[in-house]
Symmetry: C2
Subunit: 188 residues, 2 copies
Amino acid sequence: MKKSIGAQALAFLSPVWIVGTYDHEAKPNVMAVAWGGICCSAPPCLSISIQKVRYSYQSIIERKVFTVSVPSEEYAKEADYFGIASGKNVDKFSHTGLTPVRAELIEAPYVKEFPLVIECKVIQALDLGSHTQFIGQIMDVKAEDSVLGENELPLVEKVKPIVVGAKIWTYHGIGKYLGQAFSMGREL
Amino acid sequence: MKKSIGAQALAFLSPVWIVGTYDHEAKPNVMAVAWGGICCSAPPCLSISIQKVRYSYQSIIERKVFTVSVPSEEYAKEADYFGIASGKNVDKFSHTGLTPVRAELIEAPYVKEFPLVIECKVIQALDLGSHTQFIGQIMDVKAEDSVLGENELPLVEKVKPIVVGAKIWTYHGIGKYLGQAFSMGREL
């Protein structure tokens, strides 16, 4: 029996993405976002949604670029910290001991220790209410050698990304392999 | 060492969402999307991206509503089938034996057997290239009694949602609990 639980921002699951920017003094900063996803294949784009009050918001407005670093599960604590602290008051990189690296194609930093990194150029900004959705065209994807499988694609099992459940706010690692997309459904 | 793997629609992880619509003859239809995510808290909104050639595209353009049904991992095969077959040629509900239920607040069907359902009204449509991004304002969320925990919120461990890795296209269940968001980072 289904029960209405009201109009709320709740749909499983959300990624844990770390958005990297330089502020107006060129200090590297990161924040955690869960409101985001891939939104186009060609040109390849992803979207992230950020509140105007967040310190990173102004950096993205000014520089129109950002990175997404995908943390592996061993960095869940650092990723969560990136969503709690503000770059206005602290240097989140030096506080966590993680390393900012300037992206290759855009003026934004990524997290060296995280296995998968996406460099994005903002092509749209959509004010939706509490959040502004930035659509970033993906200029490049970088992955650690060690997480690549055949065809030079990163493997989920090796990246070990984190997901989070909206509203209930529990972090989870990746579980068992269920099958191959565009394939297992053909049995039906 | 990080290696460039090019500009492609690749960022881990994506949700597996089943989008429900009625076509022009009021036949219930569903399709699987991986390009999507929550994009605003107030008003609560999520986005899904669909190619113009998909049968569901026209239904959403015409009716400006859709549901998202979140399948549990036991339905991975059906979810994948929903992404392969076209509602133009087949009745995906009768083919899989799953049950369409008309949503309460909007004119669109959801999948009865799936534990979490979101009813959405389209408030923006953004042509990005290969895909059109539809932003849906969440009008209601419905969950099976059996997946609710305290505070009447669905638990990730009970919903057992599926995630998928872009490009590598592997489906995965949920793994171990890593901690609580907005909490575990406070230790740092």
